[in-house]
Amino acid sequence: MEAVGLVPVLAISAILFTLGVIGVLARKNALIVFMSVELMLNAVNLAFVGFSRQHAALDGHVFAILVMAVAAAEAAVGLALVILLFRNRVTVKLDDLDRMRG
């Protein structure tokens, strides 16, 4: 099988990352926004792995695993916060988060 070059990998990574950014900025549901952040992190992983192959080095692969570990820790805290939010407000819509203003 022909090896995939760097450019398609980076292109897919960029598309995924952009989708994630749009999701964070445009969606109103806390869970969807949270998923979009995870999408961004996975786009980064793809870029790391692609660059790692380009450099014929292993460290990029290791970084991807490190990032997954961090993302898992972040997910644990993030989901706990979403649950707390729901308990206090009975909503996870970001538009309703307006208790503070100045």
């Binding site: 990352f17 806390a30 692609g50 805290v77 916060l81 707390l84 308990r87 503070m100 100045g102």
Partner: protein, 491 residues
């Protein structure tokens, strides 16, 4: 590189981090075992841990720079200085937190454990010599702080603050990490010295990818230090979080982020700084202006301090920009960044010690500026201490804030950044108004302020205001130390 030192040597070199992480785990387990939490042992153990860590950092200072964990960490004077700054901020936050947490009705041992984890992450950031290490330490710090923000689970403002911080923190971390990925792609390494080396050789083969990576890093750090245009999360998060946690966010988190940012700008991108300086210039200028002007319209003290923190991020970025531009060394003002960081942490610690006393009998934070009315008559010590901190924040003599601002601006002018210094001066002039406004309330309005009684908060306030005055009148020792620390990273 030579042969890598054995792991044990690295562990000893990184003893401050190890101690914080170890005690964080110990307290986390203890919090699960001893319920309800015995307050004094937990508070005492965490204070003792931070103090011991501070001693370890002090013992390590003066030694030549060493790399630990295969170059992941660089234990040098720069790291030691900022580690001390971060630990001082942690110590003051702990000092005000015990009775504050009791007042707001949060009695969980995890609080202390999370503070230690956050401090461990901050230390990782200030010593970090590798972009991946910076990212991981940043996450160790941030994840702990997300939880700390929402530690009062029944308070929907605190939970909202924690959630907002989490979403924007995770979002900006992802952007930062994408930047790391591109820098790795362009230079083949994430180690700061290796990146600097590649850049000196001509920037690697992919200049476009490198520029993109640099821009993403700048955006990511911009979010972390709350610089304009990435600052909008800070006021809500600062206001909603418990005051003791806000104190840590406003001082320690900011110091660690600036320190890591500084290492990347000065240590790695130094030879590519010309690309960065234009962007840094605009960000610093906008941050100083927007932060100071937006603070004018605020009536909640925590929001005022949030915007003040944004403005100060601008001053510190001005210092970064002038160090990166070069020329600051001849002016003797190269240490201005480190010196001002210490001043900033002390003034915030003192101010937040007073804010932490402003709780209602129901256990809510009530930090409206009206509640300071008459404080000068009813609580002369608190009013005097807060006034010293505010005068220092405004940059007026005879305080450390004045000396710090003086060196910041002379560094900028020495580096040829006259325009930036001018913008900063306008911002600082506007700042004088909102820093002096609480003093007008304290001394010139009638009222009967309702402040909690807490000896340790008073001790924190007394210590910080005394230090601000002492270092304001005799800055040379700290300044020398600051200069040496910055010199160690310029290499």
């Amino acid at each position: 590189m030579g042969s890598a030192p054995p792991v044990l040597d690295s562990v000893i070199l990184a003893a401050p981090l190890m101690l914080l992480a170890l005690m964080g785990v110990v307290l986390m387990v203890a919090a699960a075992v001893f319920r309800p939490m015995p307050r004094l042992p937990f508070w005492g153990a965490s204070c003792l841990t931070v103090a011991t860590t501070l001693v370890l950092v002090a013992l390590g200072s003066g030694k030549p720079a060493t790399e630990a964990f295969s170059g992941m960490l660089r234990i040098d004077a720069y790291g030691n200085f900022f580690a001390a700054v971060v630990l001082v901020s942690g110590l003051f936050s702990l000092l005000i937190s015990d009775s504050y947490m009791e007042r707001i009705g949060v009695r969980v041992g995890e609080f202390y454990s999370l503070v230690l984890f956050a401090l461990c992450g901050m230390l990782g950031m200030v010593y970090s010599n590798d972009l991946m290490m910076t990212f991981i330490s940043l996450e160790v710090m941030s994840i702990a702080v997300y939880v700390l923000c929402a530690i009062k689970r029944s308070d929907d403002r605190a939970v909202e603050s924690g959630f907002k911080y989490f979403i924007l923190g995770a979002f900006s971390s992802a952007i930062l990490l994408y930047g790391v990925a591109f820098v790795y792609g362009a230079t083949g390494s994430t180690a700061l010295p290796a990146i600097a080396h590649t850049l000196r050789e001509g920037g690697g083969e992919a200049a476009g990818i490198l520029a993109l990576g640099g821009a993403l890093l700048l955006v990511g750090f911009g979010f972390k230090v709350a610089s304009v245009p990435f600052h909008m999360w800070a006021p809500d998060v600062y206001q909603g979080a418990p005051t003791a946690v806000t104190a840590l966010m406003a001082s320690g988190v900011k110091a660690a982020s600036i320190a890591a940012f500084g290492r990347v700008v000065i240590g790695a991108m130094g030879d590519d700084a010309s690309n960065w300086n234009g962007a840094l210039w605009w960000m610093a200028a906008a941050t100083m202006l927007v932060g100071n002007l937006a603070a004018l319209a605020q009536n909640d003290l925590k929001r005022i301090f949030a915007y003040s923190g944004i403005a100060h991020a601008g001053y510190l970025m001005m210092a970064l920009s002038s160090v990166a531009a070069g020329g600051a060394a001849e002016n003797g003002a190269i240490g201005s960044l480190a010196f001002y960081m210490l001043a900033y942490v002390l003034m915030n610690a003192g101010a937040f010690a007073v804010l932490a006393l402003m709780t209602t009998s129901e256990g809510d934070d009530a930090t409206d500026i009206d509640r300071l009315a008459g404080l000068g008559r009813s609580h002369p010590f608190l009013a005097a201490g807060l006034s010293v901190c505010l005068i220092s924040l405004a940059g007026l003599p005879p305080t450390m804030g004045f000396i710090g601002k003086f060196y910041l601006f002379s560094a900028a002018i020495g580096a040829g950044e006259v325009g930036l210094a001018f913008v900063g001066a306008i911002g600082a002039a506007a700042g004088v108004y909102y820093y002096l406004r609480p003093m007008v309330y304290m001394y010139m309005r009638e009222g009967s302020p309702d402040m909690a009684v807490d000896g340790r908060a008073r001790l924190a306030l007394g210590l910080t205001s005394a230090l601000l005055l002492i270092f304001g009148l005799m800055p040379s020792a700290i300044l020398q130390w600051a200069n040496a620390s910055m010199a160690s990273v310029l290499g």
